[in-house]
């Protein structure tokens, strides 16, 4: 039988203070969310009420979807798929060396590591849509500017994730390889990479799935693929074709994602 002691009461007080602190924090977060919704005009009932019918009108024009031009979409779809694969391949080739130079445990020194990190953040801070516009201006319309935009923006992301995976490898096999006389390069090829390959594959496959979705958007700025067809249908106000293209893209995304999931399983 325990009598409530002074110590227990102290602990309970401490506990109540912690609970109150948490509640206060949650309250602040909720307030900030409402503030953001208000600032962006979400509580403007008038606009929302008027928007409803307009949305309904648009939706009604979207059905039934018009698939009659499907033959014209096959080529652009293949382009989009090719863009996503080519963009991923290029991203790997640029990311891996940058990641190895950026990760503190494989980088030759602090300055190199920091400058590679800077390059990676710079690449990822430019949205691929902006890169797409720049590359369309540089090399003209088509899939090529799309691939370059995807690869370069993704290098910033993929390189960062690669570097993080490399940074967290078990250092002990690295020491064992060094003890056996392995050079810095051999430590990377035979002690670092064997540990992280499944993770690198995982990151890469996710990125490929993302590339497929992103390359449809890139078509909007003239970087080829199915996105180009989508924006063309929007421009001539053929919402029934727009919905048909969107359904087609959705189906392809499902196929690409499940292919990615299957690949990941194989590489585990």
């Amino acid at each position: 039988m325990l009598a409530p002691s002074a110590g227990h009461i102290g602990i309970l007080h401490e506990h109540r203070r912690a609970v109150l602190r948490h509640a206060g924090l949650v309250g602040v977060i909720v307030l900030v969310c409402f503030g953001a919704l208000w600032l962006t005009g979400f509580f403007d009932a008038q606009r929302l009420i008027e928007g409803g019918p307009a949305l309904g009108q648009l939706a009604s024009e979207m059905v039934p979807p018009d698939f009659s031009r499907w033959r014209a979409w096959v080529g652009p779809l293949v382009d989009t798929l090719a863009m996503s694969i080519a963009g991923t391949a290029l991203a790997i080739v640029i990311s891996l060396p940058l990641a190895l130079l950026a990760a503190p445990n494989t980088s030759p020194n602090f300055a190199v590591s920091q400058s590679c990190r800077l390059i990676l953040s710079a690449l990822r801070s430019v949205p691929e849509l902006i890169m797409g516009i720049v590359f369309v201006a540089a090399v003209g319309f088509g899939a090529l500017p799309g691939v370059l935009a995807l690869a370069l923006h993704s290098t910033g992301m993929v390189g960062k994730f690669y570097a993080e995976a490399i940074e967290h490898v078990d250092p002990r096999p690295l020491e064992a390889a060094r003890a056996a006389g392995a050079s810095r390069f051999q430590v990377i090829t035979h002690a670092v990479l064997p540990q992280v390959l499944p993770q690198l594959a995982d990151i890469t496959i996710y990125r490929w799935e993302y590339h497929f979705r992103a390359s449809t958007v890139l078509g909007i700025v003239g970087a080829g693929g199915i996105g180009f067809e989508l924006i063309a249908a929007l421009r001539v106000i053929r919402y029934d074709q727009v919905s048909a293209i969107l359904i087609t893209i959705l189906l392809c995304v499902v196929v690409v994602d499940s292919l990615g999931a299957w690949l990941r399983k194989q590489l585990k």
């Binding site: 078990d170 064992a176 060094r178 006389g181 051999q186 540990q195």
Partner: protein, 263 residues
């Protein structure tokens, strides 16, 4: 033959892990390092293959006049196998792949990017067979027991065709029966091949049984150096600062010694 000349290691935080030490390790001899945690056993072992850099003095080896010279260090390391307490294998790689990393010191530059040669693979399999794991050669290392993993560690050292094997508490993470088997395997191989070994241990009983020579360390300095028969109660007291519980690999060392030597 490898020797240290006034080898001293002071860590950046000021801890003197190894006081100026001069020791010579003869070819083919099985030397056991004894001492409480923090006595400098690991530091001494790791200075013998340059994993720890000396702050003063030097290490002289057969193929390397001075381990501070990178090429000499590499030549020395490839003939020096190392067995670690935590075996330090790549868990998701196969036994064979792990053992083959012991051959890296013999490869240079771009040769690394090509697969290991058939001869090297056969040699690696020989080493795997020698530690009794041939039926596990293509198994992932993380599927093996602790004792088996340590055998892989020994095979990785063996495939280097070493003149010297350094073992840093190779059986400290194993149960007593497995520890005994792994240590006698290591001892048997070193004796059969004439490989010199420097092995740090916790267990006095193992040291007395396997060692040709025992080096006792306390607070980074050598306090005993001689044959096992000369290691009596007084000498043990000098190494551990107290009567150790014999045959207890988990025996925690006296507290005043664990803090090390803060200069």
């Amino acid at each position: 033959m490898i020797r240290t000349e006034q080898a001293e290691v002071v860590y950046p935080n000021g801890t003197r892990a190894l006081a100026a030490t001069s020791l010579t390790f003869a070819p083919g001899a099985f030397t056991v390092l004894l001492g409480p945690s923090g006595a400098g056993k690991s530091t001494l072992l790791r200075s013998l293959n340059g994993l720890v850099r000396l702050t003063a003095g030097k290490v002289v080896a057969e193929e390397a006049d001075d381990l501070r010279e990178p090429h000499a260090l590499r030549r020395h390391r490839r003939r020096t196998g190392m067995v670690f307490q935590q075996h330090q294998l790549i868990g998701r790689a196969t036994v064979l792949a792990n053992v083959l990393t012991g051959r890296l010191g013999y490869h240079s530059g771009l040769r690394t990017l090509l697969p290991f040669s058939a001869t090297e693979k056969r040699r690696a399999l020989d080493a795997v067979a020698r530690v009794g794991l041939i039926e596990y050669a293509l198994r992932r290392c993380d599927q093996l027991s602790g004792g088996q993993q340590q055998r892989v560690g020994i095979a990785r050292a063996l495939v280097q065709e070493p003149a010297l094997i350094l073992a840093d508490e190779p059986v400290a993470s194993l149960d007593p029966a497995t520890a005994e088997r792994v240590l006698s395997l290591l001892h048997g191989i070193c004796k059969a091949d004439g490989i010199a070994a420097v092995v740090s241990l916790h267990q006095l009983e193992f040291a007395r049984r396997f060692a040709d020579r025992i080096v006792g360390l306390a607070k980074g300095a050598v306090v005993f150096d001689g044959s096992p028969s000369k290691l009596g109660r007084a000498e043990t007291l000098r190494i551990y600062g107290a009567e150790p519980a014999d045959n207890d690999e988990d025996s925690e060392e006296p507290l005043q010694l664990k803090t090390g030597t803060h200069a």
